[in-house]
């Protein structure tokens, strides 16, 4: 983007921000409104000292990192302004690319991003870092209307067309920077939004800088509660990535859909969603479609959930994520899976899930079974069939809140080849245990264990983590984490992990968490988002303050 244009955008953003702050100040100056004014926030500081994490790679060891995140909200009357300032500072930088002249942390960024509102710390042999105004938004709430300017998250329907959610644990946080207007009636709500996509620029997992994709997104949604038991919805979204496959051809995606929810039909609740999509990629038009449905039924002690999904070449794809080297995806369809499972694709699949639960309410006991079948890329040359069956139980006991839950399951993945033969790719047994046992006073023992036993093309490996600790209500906890992962081997690869974790609550305003030792990395899925976490070795201190 040309420097002159970038300066103009930069000035426009600063002007908008100044206007908001000016309005706030003016409002705050009025006595009545000032009484209603307040400011609050949360500051999180993480200090990490990394030793050699023995992951078989060089350049990511023996460094010190400080990450700070300050989020604050100012409120006066019906107006609130929220800002988040992130900083990442390397001291004793690793020998890897983090502080090199070519890295995004260097003084001369490759691309000027006028909407990023960031400051780059001067690179030097000793340290480097970035401060960035990660998020800023102003919201005005009236009786029936809500106006939002700045950064916001947005989901349409069940997330199949669009799901821009805060997933900061996995370091893949995207928001829309623009505007949103919403009308909220008792039974009808209408909204329209538009803007450009900005990412959480500081990827705390890989310690990399993520460039904002600046892809354009715009859409609208309507929701009508037609009766107490019937809800109708419709939505549309248009996306246009900044990156083009061909320089002379604009790539775009347009998706439309409708939802229907019907409750209390002989004790059952039904949810439906249908979607249609048209895309232009490198000048060629493509179509996609999708459908999703759930049926939930409860009768006495029994509860049933049936879930089905069909996606035919449906995707909401953006520009390249410079940290992951994969495109940004702006949708997140239901997976039908457990939250900790890897999902091969969310674009082309057909599948279903059934879950049956039986509860003994008097004895606080639950037993359940869950089965999933997913066929990925059904029309392609090598479709992948996944079958996952697991079951378990939960039991609450005693008057102090003791609880134990356990699950056992099996997963099988087979893939077809061109000759039509199906062969096993991998399978897995899983075993989970979660136990909280109250002791004297406010003290409780907790044990959480997750274990997976894999065979990948006939070669076995195991991975898992077990946490054993004591916690005191309102005070904190002390935990030992034992991990193992023997998927990779070698002289410089650690397979056993041991860490001590202590957390402390210091009144209402402070909490602290310290970790010393080694922790397993690998693929971890949090809230449906999977990332490859590097193993950790060293010490970490996290301080959170609320004001």
């Amino acid at each position: 983007m040309a420097v002159s244009n970038s300066r103009g955008w930069h000035q426009a953003c600063l002007l908008a921000l100044s206007t908001c702050l000016g309005l706030f100040s003016h409002a705050a100056a009025a006595d009545d409104l000032f009484e209603d004014a307040s400011i609050r926030g949360t500051n999180t500081t993480v200090i990490e000292g990394w030793a050699d994490n023995k992951n078989g790679r060089e350049g990511d060891d023996n460094f010190v990192l400080l990450v700070n995140r300050l989020e604050s909200t100012a409120e006066v009357g019906d107006l609130s302004v929220t800002a988040r300032l992130d900083a990442m500072e390397f001291g004793l930088p690793p020998t890897g690319a983090y502080c090199s002249a070519e890295s995004a942390f260097s003084d001369a960024p490759v691309d000027v991003n006028p909407l990023a509102l960031e400051l780059r710390h001067q690179a030097s042999p000793g340290n480097c870092g970035v401060i960035t105004l990660e998020r800023i938004s102003a919201v005005w709430e009236g009786d029936a209307f809500v106006l939002r300017a700045g950064d916001f998250y947005r989901q349409l329907g069940h997330g199949i067309a669009l799901a821009m959610r805060k997933v900061s644990q996995a370091g893949i946080d995207r928001a829309i920077r623009g505007g949103e207007v919403t009308y909220e009636g008792e039974s009808l709500s209408l909204s329209a939004f538009g803007g450009t996509v900005v990412a959480a620029n500081l990827d705390s997992i890989n310690r990399r800088y993520v460039q904002d994709p600046l892809d354009w997104l715009a859409g609208a949604e309507g929701l009508l509660a037609a009766t107490d038991d019937v809800q109708l919805g419709f939505f549309g979204v248009y996306g246009q990535p900044q990156e083009r496959l061909l320089p002379d051809s604009i790539d775009w995606t347009a998706t439309g859909g409708a939802t229907l929810r019907v409750s209390d039909v002989l004790g059952a609740t039904f949810d439906f969603e249908v979607l249609a999509q048209q895309r232009a990629l490198a000048g060629a038009l493509q179509q996609g479609s999708g459908a999703y449905a759930t049926a939930q039924y409860g009768a006495g002690a029994w509860s049933f959930l049936f879930e089905g999904m069909y996606l035919n070449d449906l995707q909401q794809r953006g520009s390249l994520n410079t940290s992951l080297d994969t495109p940004f995806l702006y949708n997140q369809p239901p997976t039908l899976e457990r939250i900790d499972q890897e999902v091969p694709n969310s674009r082309d699949l057909v599948g279903g899930r059934t879950r049956v639960e039986w509860s003994d309410f008097e004895h606080n006991l639950l037993l359940y079974g869950n089965g999933v079948v997913r066929l990925n890329d059904p029309g392609e040359a090598a479709p992948l069939l996944q079958v996952h069956v697991f079951g378990g139980g939960e039991w609450g006991y005693g008057s102090k809140g003791g609880r134990v839950s356990s699950a056992l399951g099996y997963r099988d993945e087979v893939q077809s080849s061109r000759d039509g033969e199906w062969r096993q790719v991998r399978d897995m047994w899983l075993f989970d245990l979660f136990w909280i046992h109250p002791l004297t006073g406010d003290l409780a023992l907790h044990i959480a264990s997750q274990n997976q036993f894999w065979r990948l093309e006939g070669l076995p490996y195991q991975r898992g983590s077990t946490f054993i600790g004591l916690e005191k209500a309102g005070r904190g906890s002390a935990t030992v984490e034992i991990g193992y992962d023997n998927q990779n081997s070698g002289a410089d690869v650690r397979q056993a992990f041991l860490a001590a974790i202590a957390s402390l609550e210091l009144g209402q305003a402070w909490s602290a968490r310290a970790t010393v030792g080694t922790q397993r990395g690998g693929l971890k899925c949090v809230a449906g988002v999977c990332r490859d976490f590097p193993p950790f070795a060293g010490a970490r201190l996290e301080l959170a303050a609320r004001f």
Binding site: R120, G129, G159, K166, A444, A527, A545
Partner: protein, 197 residues
């Protein structure tokens, strides 16, 4: 050099803010006149972390819909004490805590407590929300925060479980992340204190 100064200022600002918060918290932790004694623990609400009224900041408004599409707006609950519990179907401590939140909601509903259970399940796990509600026979409103707007307003770190108590004037009186057995007794003391204000 200038940029290094900016980095240092930013980090210093963060620490100063935290220090201010600590100071403010220390003021707030001085036993308030409205302390309420727990029959068992004999801890005052201030001991348990209830902020003094002068230290409470206004809670940001949000609107969400419950599982039947009915709209719930936080600002319309002014006049009630509001207990907001953030949870997710995959969060084991959340599932431990929810029945206690529901019990508190029933116990104090007629005295002016409104409890809201806000799920921030993503698209991958949202289908299980109704079954959790029926399993625990939850009577309190269960809202689904699909786009994370309530999370952004009240729970910026996105923790689960996360409990917020809002006083009758719409100000945040208490916030707590995590759940351990015994926390529900503390929240009971705090709710009683706020209802008595």
């Amino acid at each position: 050099m200038t940029k290094r100064v900016f980095t240092s200022l930013s980090l210093t600002l963060g620490l100063l803010v935290a220090g201010f918060a600590s100071h403010a918290a220390a003021d707030g932790a001085v036993p308030a006149k409205q302390a309420v004694q727990s029959a068992k623990a004999h801890k005052t609400a201030a001991d348990l972390g209830l902020k003094a009224p002068k230290d409470r900041a206004k809670a940001s408004n949000f609107r969400l819909r419950d599982l039947k599409g009915k709209s719930v707006k936080l600002s319309k609950l002014k006049g009630d004490v509001v207990l907001v519990s953030f949870w997710a179907t995959w969060c084991k401590p959340c599932l431990q805590e929810l029945p206690h939140i529901d019990a508190l909601a029933k116990k104090y509903k007629k005295k002016g407590l409104t409890a809201l259970a806000i799920s921030n399940d993503g698209p991958d796990t949202a289908a299980r929300i109704p079954s959790v509600v029926s399993r625990f026979r939850l009577g309190l409103p269960v809202l689904h925060d699909k786009a994370g707007k309530a999370v952004a307003a009240l729970n910026p770190r996105g923790n689960n479980p996360f409990t917020v108590l809002i006083d009758k004037k719409g100000r945040i009186a208490y916030a707590h992340e995590g759940y351990a057995p015994g926390d529900e007794a503390h929240v009971d003391v705090l709710v009683k204190a706020l209802l008595a204000e």
